[in-house]
């Protein structure tokens, strides 16, 4: 009993830290409300899809950033998709980086795009480790 209570508290604290530190927003809570006994892994399944989509899009953007000159329309299109996925699971910080990246795309700012994308990848990696820890405890 003591151990269960401890785990619950750990989980609650972990969750709260996500929101406090701005990694996630209330969209994740919305998703959790869609989960029930008949569909107990719904959120995890969504997040798994999210990882898969994200890996693909990050790879595409990495490749597109190697080109010279940059195809800003294509970059923006990839990033729009990535932004959408992040929005759907409530990945707040990563979404902010996406918005910033797209602004640089629209301005045709090569340095800005490349710099923001590095920052974005760092944020995404952080998000991923946090979510993975969250599902460990859950």
């Amino acid at each position: 009993m003591e151990r269960n209570h401890h785990l619950h508290r750990q989980l609650a604290n972990l969750r709260q830290s996500f929101f406090d530190q701005g990694y996630l927003d209330e969209q994740l809570i919305q998703l959790e409300e869609l989960q029930d006994d008949a569909n107990p892994n719904f959120v995890e399944e969504v997040v798994t899809l999210f990882y898969k989509d994200s890996a693909r899009l990050i790879h595409s953007i990495d490749q597109a950033l190697e080109k010279n000159p940059l195809d800003f329309a294509k970059l923006d299109s990839h990033m729009h998709q990535f932004q959408g996925s992040n929005s759907s699971i409530g990945a707040k910080k990563v979404k902010t980086e996406c918005t910033q990246f797209r602004e640089y795309c629209r301005a045709g700012n090569v340095e800005g795009c490349k710099r923001t994308f590095q920052q974005l990848k760092r944020e995404y990696a952080l998000l991923k480790t946090k979510l993975e820890a969250y599902f460990e405890v859950a």
Binding site: Q27, Q30, L31, E33, L34, D36, D37, A38, N39, F42, E45, V46, L49, F50, K52, D53, S77, H80, Q81, Q83, G84, S85, S87, S88, I89, G90
Partner: protein, 205 residues
């Protein structure tokens, strides 16, 4: 296959199970919208492109594998930004089709661009939803569509008499035998709904 009509008229809309066609190129969003719709007791068909949506609806020239009654889609929810055919282009094709123009179409988008919203509404979209879509959005849509469906059904009954009764019996047999997953959540098990509908079947004028 016909089922003996034992308890008066029974139609799909009486059982309150709408069939929604969801169109979105994002796998994540398809999964979420599917869940939102299932929780709201809707049957869902989710496809990843406008082209596949048209194929499903039988609008692409190829004959749809399902008959028109089985196919009956009560609502189409489509993402706006999709590669190939945008949600707007899909909307235009649906509204331009005499067979399908009456199906309400809702556009979903993560971007709140007023010109885009206006264009969609002008083209006949019922509503423009901001992503991420919420359960309350879906519930509201469902109520709205159901009201429309019930109004239509009453009008049909008054106009068509025995023809509509036969079609509804076919609908009834299909909804009882179709094996799409029935949610175990107490919110919407199908049995009580069936009982409810049999109790309050509409009278034919």
């Amino acid at each position: 296959m016909e089922v003996e009509n034992m308890a008066g008229d029974y139609s799909l809309s009486d059982a309150q199970e709408l069939h929604v066609l969801a169109v979105d190129d994002s796998h994540v969003d398809r999964k979420v919208i599917e869940r939102l719709l299932k929780i709201s007791c809707c049957k869902v068909t989710a496809v990843e492109s406008g082209r596949m949506a048209l194929q499903y609806l039988g609008l692409d020239g190829e004959k749809s594998s399902l008959g028109i009654d089985e196919l009956k889609v009560n609502l189409i929810m489509t993402d706006y930004s999709m590669p190939g055919m945008t949600g707007y282009e899909l909307l235009k094709k649906i509204k331009g089709s005499s067979a399908l123009s009456k199906i309400p179409v809702v556009i979903m988008s993560s971007e709140k661009i007023l010109a885009r919203i206006d264009r969609c509404l002008e083209e006949g979209a019922k509503e423009f939803l901001q992503k991420p879509v919420k359960l309350s959005d879906v519930k509201r849509l469902k109520d709205f569509i159901l009201r429309g469906e019930n109004d239509n059904k009453e009008t049909e009954q008054m106009k068509e008499g025995s023809c509509s009764r036969k079609r509804k019996i076919q609908d009834c047999s299909l909804s009882l035998t179709q094996t799409h997953d029935i949610p175990s959540s107490p919110k919407c098990s199908s049995a009580p709904l069936l009982q409810q509908s049999l109790l309050k079947h509409p009278k034919i004028a």
